[in-house]
């Protein structure tokens, strides 16, 4: 079964050239490619792990975080991205500001891709460890070799196309798992009864795992350790907007669209299935922890004495699916890890080679030279991912680690974009030093605080003094992002006021809100306008929040 899935994927990949930038395909497929770009290991394993660790509060990543952010991208940011004809996010920064801002962003972005790829590698190795019974070290080597081969065989020649295929593979591979699990625990009411045990065992009110807002009055009342203000500002604003508005892998999908309207509609269409993803990725985690509490030891216990939340999905697969469907589930998982890794390593390669090496280190070499540098970068990227994968072993929930990386990279960058796109007075020096300040603020905050029950080191607190202890890793991430955003925003604002403008109004045409002509959509019927779609999405996610309040 595994082999069949694999052979099919290989065959399909090598026989195409047909899926070009979404111009001839229905809009819903472009939208699916947009969310598939982020439907990697982090989504599947990380969201399930968070569902187990933090309960239904994980849905805030969707209904408070992603939804408004995706609507914002579609309605407000896309006109500048698409209109500027930039091919990537760093390129937009170069057009709007200067080369050094782009360089700084390229470096932080390169680091982020390595961590993302390392996290996927960790998840894949864990899966090999479980399925093949190999040691973790052997599994890491195996994953590294597989990805290396995959990339050198031209793995990503039709990335968007693969992503759509993968989206369906994941949805159709995991749906039977969720249905069986729900049936087994006795539906939603059976699940909440089991989760009540989980919550009381952890010292919370019985509903702490099954209510998304009710226990957010104080950090001590819910498993995530957040109160509503920090969550809305840290996750809903800084992290989510930062991720969806500036993450190059995701935004690129929409930049490839055929027209401005199509580009704006892509994230909005993508938001519809995205809104429903919690059923596939968070619910399994909640099922796993429910079974863990009621049947005893469903999840293995890690070295830190906590359950290994990351294994929620693999354990459920092995528990419910028989030979046959199990193969489909495993293929779906592996496909997701593989492309998550390959996508990130390839992005690292191109950012390093074009945005850093060619621009700043050795310009004006032959194409063959850059190709060799690119190959070397791929190998280096994979080796660095191995290191990142080992650091991921310290986190019992890979989403905690991933959001930590995002809080460093996307949090401050979002402030730069917000000011850059909506305030023409923002100067290049302001952007560069502001971004630097934001990143340093993140590092300081992370270095001076610690999540509960951790020792100083990779989880924070490495600057000697621990000024504050957060109840959970995720709480630390949200606050890091908020601090980083604020640091960047204030520094960019102040420095811009005190430095001379580097770009004239003319050069900023199409890059800044006030200097870009309004898009005329009056001729379109009201139900086809992006605004209508956006409002509909916001209303629907509000309803979902109320249902699971």
């Amino acid at each position: 079964m595994l082999g069949i899935g694999w052979a099919l994927r290989r065959r399909i990949r090598s026989s195409e050239d047909f899926f070009l930038s979404g111009r001839s395909i229905p809009a819903w497929i472009a939208g699916l490619a947009f969310i598939s770009a982020n439907l990697g290991a982090q989504e599947v394993i990380g969201m399930a792990a968070s569902g187990a660790k933090y309960g239904i509060m994980t849905s805030h990543f969707y209904w408070v975080g992603a939804m408004p952010a995706m609507v914002f991208v579609g309605l407000f940011m896309m006109p500048f991205y698409y209109g500027s004809r930039a091919r990537s996010v760093p390129e937009y920064l170069k057009l709007r500001f200067d080369e050094k801002t782009r360089g700084l962003n390229a470096i932080t972005f390169a680091i982020m891709t390595i961590f993302s790829s390392g996290i996927s590698m960790y998840a894949l190795a864990k899966l090999f460890e479980l399925v093949l019974g190999w040691s973790f070290h052997g599994s890491i080597v195996l994953s590294a070799v597989i990805v290396l081969i995959y990339i050198f065989l031209g793995g990503l020649t039709s990335a968007i196309y693969n992503e759509v295929l993968q989206f369906f593979l994941i949805v159709l591979g995991f749906l039977p798992l969720v249905l069986l699990g729900l049936k087994d625990v006795g539906g939603w009411s059976g699940l909440t009864a089991k989760l009540a045990t989980v919550a009381t065992n952890a010292g919370f009110e019985p509903g702490a795992w099954s209510h998304s807002w009710k226990y957010m009055d104080s950090p001590s009342h819910n498993p995530m350790g957040m109160e509503w203000f920090g969550l809305v500002m840290g996750l809903g604003f800084a992290l989510s907007f930062g991720y969806w508005c500036t993450d190059f892998l995701v935004v690129q999908r929409a930049m490839a669209a055929g027209s401005m309207t199509a580009a704006r509609r892509t994230p909005l269409i993508a938001a519809v299935p995205k809104m429903l993803m919690p059923v596939l990725v968070i619910l399994p985690g909640m099922l796993a922890i429910g079974l863990h509490a009621s049947r005893g030891g469903f999840l293995p216990i890690g070295s830190d004495g906590q359950p290994e939340y990351n294994l929620a999905i693999p354990m459920l697969l092995g528990h419910y699916l028989p030979t046959g469907l199990l193969g489909l589930g495993l293929t779906a998982l592996m496909a997701s890890f593989m492309s998550g890794m390959a996508g990130n390593v390839t992005a690292f390669n191109s950012v390093w080679t074009y945005d850093i090496y060619q621009t700043h280190i050795r310009p004006g070499q032959t194409d063959a030279h850059y190709l060799r540098v690119g190959h070397a970068a791929t190998v280096f990227g994979i080796c660095a991912s191995v290191v990142a994968a080992y650091s991921a072993t310290r986190f019992n929930n890979i989403l905690d680690m991933l959001q930590l990386v995002f809080s460093f990279v996307n949090g401050p960058l979002f402030a730069t974009f917000l000011l850059g796109m909506f305030w023409r007075r923002t100067t290049s020096h302001g952007a560069f030093y502001g971004l630097l300040t934001g990143t340093i603020t993140a590092a300081l905050h992370y270095g001076l605080t610690l999540p509960q029950g951790s020792v100083p080191g990779i989880k924070g607190g490495f600057l000697g003094a621990v000024l504050h202890v957060y109840p959970s890793e995720m709480a630390l991430n949200f606050w890091t992002a908020l601090f980083a955003w604020t640091g960047c925003f204030v520094a960019t604002l102040l420095i811009s006021l005190f430095t001379k403008r580097t770009k004239t109004d003319d050069e900023l045409r199409g890059l800044v809100h006030s200097l870009t002509p309004r898009i005329q959509e009056g001729h379109m019927p009201w139900y086809k306008r992006p605004v209508t779609l956006g409002v509909g999405i916001l209303v629907a996610s509000t309803i979902l929040n109320v249902i699971f309040w």
């Binding site: 759509v164 039977p176 069986l180 699916l321 028989p322």
Partner: protein, 70 residues
Amino acid sequence: MRLDVRFPIGGMFSLIGAILTVYGIVSDPAIYEKSLGINVNLWWGLVLLAFGLVMLGFAVRAHRRGPAAS
């Protein structure tokens, strides 16, 4: 000519669905103890097969209509 992405998606899921369905019919019922006694291979195989065929159907329809329009 550019191939519609729904062709390979439809083809792949029809094939996987067909294989699962057949496997569901011939496999030993004992393996379904895990899945609460439900023959998930058979049922989910049929779901996948239906999904694949619908995708193929849409692709063929769009393909037929395409050349006529241009």
